[in-house]
Symmetry: C2
Subunit: 755 residues, 2 copies
Amino acid sequence: MSDFSFVGKPTPMIDGPAKITGNLKYTGDLKLSGMLHARFVLSTYAHATIRSIDCGAALAVPGVSSVLTAEDLPKVVPSSRARLMLARDRVIFVGQPVAIVLAETPAAAADGAELVEIDYDPLSSVNTMDAAVAKGAPVIWPQGIPTGAEDEAAHGADTGGESESEDEEPSNIAGKTQLATGDCAAAFAQAAVVVERTFETPMVHQSSIETQGWVVQPNPITGGATMWGSLQSPFGVRQDVADVLGVPESDVTVYGMPVGGAFGAKFGLYEPLVALVAATVGKPVSLILTRSEELLTTNPAPALRLYGKLGFASDGQLLAMQADVTADTGVYPSGLGGFAAMQFASFYPCENLSLASTNVITNKQSVGAYRAPTSPTAFMAVETLFDEAAAQLGMDPVDLRLKNAARSGDPAPDGSEFAPIGMVETLEAAKQHPLWQNRESSRNQGRGVGVAIGGWMGGLEPGAAVCKLNRDGVLQVQIGTADLSGTPTTFAMLAAEAYGVAPDKVRFVYSDTDSAPYGGGVGGSKTTYTLGNAVIRAAQDARRQTFAIAAEEFEVSAEDLEIVDGRVQVRGFPDRSLSLGELAGKAMTFGGRYEPVHGSGSQAVTDRAPSFCAQIAEVEVDEETGDVNLLNLAVVQEVGRAINPLAVQGQMQGGAVQGVGWALFEEMRYGDDGQLLSGSWMDYAMPDAVQAAPIHTQIVEVPSRSGPFGARGVGEPPVIPTVAAIANAVAHATGVRMTQTPMTAPRVLEALSSR
Amino acid sequence: MSDFSFVGKPTPMIDGPAKITGNLKYTGDLKLSGMLHARFVLSTYAHATIRSIDCGAALAVPGVSSVLTAEDLPKVVPSSRARLMLARDRVIFVGQPVAIVLAETPAAAADGAELVEIDYDPLSSVNTMDAAVAKGAPVIWPQGIPTGAEDEAAHGADTGGESESEDEEPSNIAGKTQLATGDCAAAFAQAAVVVERTFETPMVHQSSIETQGWVVQPNPITGGATMWGSLQSPFGVRQDVADVLGVPESDVTVYGMPVGGAFGAKFGLYEPLVALVAATVGKPVSLILTRSEELLTTNPAPALRLYGKLGFASDGQLLAMQADVTADTGVYPSGLGGFAAMQFASFYPCENLSLASTNVITNKQSVGAYRAPTSPTAFMAVETLFDEAAAQLGMDPVDLRLKNAARSGDPAPDGSEFAPIGMVETLEAAKQHPLWQNRESSRNQGRGVGVAIGGWMGGLEPGAAVCKLNRDGVLQVQIGTADLSGTPTTFAMLAAEAYGVAPDKVRFVYSDTDSAPYGGGVGGSKTTYTLGNAVIRAAQDARRQTFAIAAEEFEVSAEDLEIVDGRVQVRGFPDRSLSLGELAGKAMTFGGRYEPVHGSGSQAVTDRAPSFCAQIAEVEVDEETGDVNLLNLAVVQEVGRAINPLAVQGQMQGGAVQGVGWALFEEMRYGDDGQLLSGSWMDYAMPDAVQAAPIHTQIVEVPSRSGPFGARGVGEPPVIPTVAAIANAVAHATGVRMTQTPMTAPRVLEALSSR
């Protein structure tokens, strides 16, 4: 029994019809008057000096209006990836933009880009984390590695631990972190069971259906610009662009366009460069990446190597956790290694911790966020080790987790105490799941069943919302953030519930950074959790204002009013009522004597609501080929409150499918010369609908303390435990422990052969 | 000595540079992907049956994609002018749209429009108010004249008085009003001096530099649309368009684009038609009127005939006022005749009133609002009669006005008491003006000096505003109304004053009806007066929120804080300070613990602030040709508080120049067959910079009770008294009373010859 009118009811996405009929306009659909189409000329070397660039043939292509190189742009210190303009004097990764061709048509730009002649003098490069730290390795940034720290903080990555100051000697080590509590050595020494392994995951690409793209209109009066783009953080991009253009951020306007997939990749990349190019030529410019460019020159997840070690008492009590992470972050530094170590140790409270990370740079494209950054790797490690330890302890793997799982009040990794959380409830639900209950009969059929859990602390960011009432009785709800996962529908439901109208009387307004209330970036599974509160408050404010008008019209107290079927009526007097539209109209008219209904709501939630997803994978392993066939995947997720169960299930399914990609298919593979070998969707393998297997979603609800109606963030958790669940299922089926992804047939076959 | 930091300081328009460099984009600059250009085919007859329309030749023009006639559009009851779609079966005025040609280029559309063959069967038409009411006149709307009442109310015209129910017999009389108080007959009988005359003014066209124009993107999913246009009332247009499309207004989005002049004409006209056309063809459509179309098919001021009569006691006390107005409103009815009668009698309180009006329709384009609708005519009458009476009473003309002028507490025409007003102060200032003081020496040089005053009650409409603080320390101010007269600069100054930053740290945000707070239409001299309060409240709310963040940061009470040079500091401790941008940034960041600074403010001012403008004209009349040469024009206006004196003076000058046009140049002249004879700017005469003569502005300030910092509306008053002042100057110079505008040389010569 629910007390809610709308919350909790499966509700189709309100913009679904516009999306599936092709009527929604994306960035690539935009045409501005006089707009030029841009095409990059990308470096074909991982490391080389640029001897010369000949643009003559490109400029001769009909329709090409200009070809810009670094010489044509103001010098910008490349202190962060978003501040790396066109290559100047040398290139440091394959796919680095060296020149940009501007033309009247996309075809002319592409033709021109093919004809730009760049004369390179190749240099030796480092393309793996081992090569990068080898003695005598070429140093990528001899003048010092850019810190990029501010940049990353702005984009929401909690780097965890303390950064140590580096040696003076130039190297490719971009940073190390170290965190130690208790006495790990002593704890391991007294442990009954110690398990340890080294895990490796490659760079993995977010690969949205929509590639990254931007359109910029320069403003010659202010020096600022207006930008349209497929973006996770319009307000973040506004600042990045303003910084490079050298104007206050208020002179830059950013329209967050509908996003055709982002997954962490669209927090900001080429916006400042495109803006600078447009300002330089004084015309609107459109740059829509091709699929090949998307794979060559964006920001996939880092490659990680994680040595993990756990020590348990004989009763299963976790005594010590150790992780040592090395991250290959491409040409720019990133704090993601430290974050991986934190994630490894976050949700099984333990007094004795030793967490270290080393972030290494290589001559490859730089890395960025990918849904639950580093967590598939961190949980592959901790959940594989838990599984192994359970076997050695002779315990049920779920029971071992339950014994050590974080509970409300336990110390959380950020130094606080865990708020009410549902890790235990999630594990209990997984334990009862038929797929888990039937694991022995599955095993008897030659299959394997594995379980794993993943946790996510959840992001936080202040934000505001506006809620207006129109003369048609419709509420217009406005927030300043992008939509990656159907949040407009969720927000419409929250507004409907809080105000007291049906969700079909709510319209969601997309707008730009000038017009919208501040909304922050979309990431960290925080949008509904945080902004949902602002929307509810704005709707409540609008309701209060509506009642104030009605109270004066009916000469009663606002407490005596109620909303019934879109009308405000005096309680007990249904004939004394006015429709919401009529009430709005009394303020929205010449000579009206009421203030328009314009509700505002803000939030600055500081209380994290960690959320958990357990998954149970059933696999079949072909022992002759090593092929892992995923038969079933149960996704059990604790979401606090499923505002819109359809949207929550969509997130659970989508995350799990990406998890399957991590586990079995996806890898950015580079040649020894730093060339990307998986540079198209023919080569970069992602699971299709059949390969992703039937996904069985199960929602668990343990209301959060501060989320809207108890909701928690749901976006990140479902991608986290998939790798581990499948690896544990493979172990259950075959007895071998996979420690490297993707678990392709050759790798599994090799593991099987070394049994 | 002013207590203000910014209010009252002459401040150039903040968007001036963008305007004068051509960088501001107007509606005609917009190009949407796949957009079709539209061109009307206009009726060449004032009244005719349409026998047939042949679109074949037009459709054969390369680039023409379709030609629509009434048959292609859904039937819409033409109950108001904005609901008149393409002519169906008959035309009722020259210039009525009969078909619309859609093409890939404007040139192809124009070529196509010339080739549409319409076979008409001409009917007899009525083209003057006398012909319309003559016995046996053809009846324009045999089924009954559309009321259009709601429509007009929405656009802000107070029709005044009570409408009488009409005879049952169909006629061209669209409505009559009658208002009588006291006993006029008796008062006139006992008056020492009675003056009476009949005045006539023709249709006058608003003639903005930018013609009317619209771009519409239909939305096939919702049935709604997005519209861009040069508009005075984006929210009004939203409703008009939604009504005709048959969708809730929330499914229509209207962008009020920069407006290149409006003056009352842009409250809504072809928006519903263009939206319906775009929906019908399923593509974006742009219709930008040509100058000829602008003159033929829009909505000029009505032609008016006003019989006025005043009776005075021998001491100059006004005893009785009578007005009988006939208005020629073209093919659609309008309540403007009644409004003219009210304006005649509004500002000289008098117990005995007899006010009547008859609104007549004719086979001409319909009429609309023009800056201070009907007031140039109403004040030509009352101020000429005052001038004449003063002569007969042997009183100074200004003294006679002063004796009878409305004062605070006097009964106002809307039934209330006048709030604090400055009619007396305005007259006193005019009296002291050198141009007036030197009138006898001017007379001795063969010139004439005339004075007149005009009053305007001022419009009211609720509205809201938003004020955000950005990380660069800039305030973004957002309202939902159009800019006709530089209000963004004024609002920026109000926000700066209320918040405590410099005006150059304020940005004004233009947005659409979805994103913007409700702002209502721009008209009635109400924008600064009403919305200024909302802006101030929003800025104060933002200041309060900023101080709340700073108070927590510094652990002091908000009362102990102040803003100095863009920094919030603890009073007396300049080293304990944070910049506004830093404070904003603490809320606008991942993990921030403060709510973003998002101030809201609303207003529903119900207190009118009437404002007055007196003008003194000095003329030279060539008695041989009748040519009136305007030598000087003093504009003395009471504005409550001149927030931005530059903008106020601009309004005073612009209004006076239009007044000069009314007085001496402008006339929509029609032939007997209803053909417009002044259909281009070669034929429709407007004053140039030399003809408008030197204009000397003088600001008087009598603070209003409810306006922002005491401001009153300033837009309408300066156009009101110019005709009367010039007519009185002509009388002073020549002894003849002109009663018809424009006072062209032939008319003046005729009057001189009948002395």
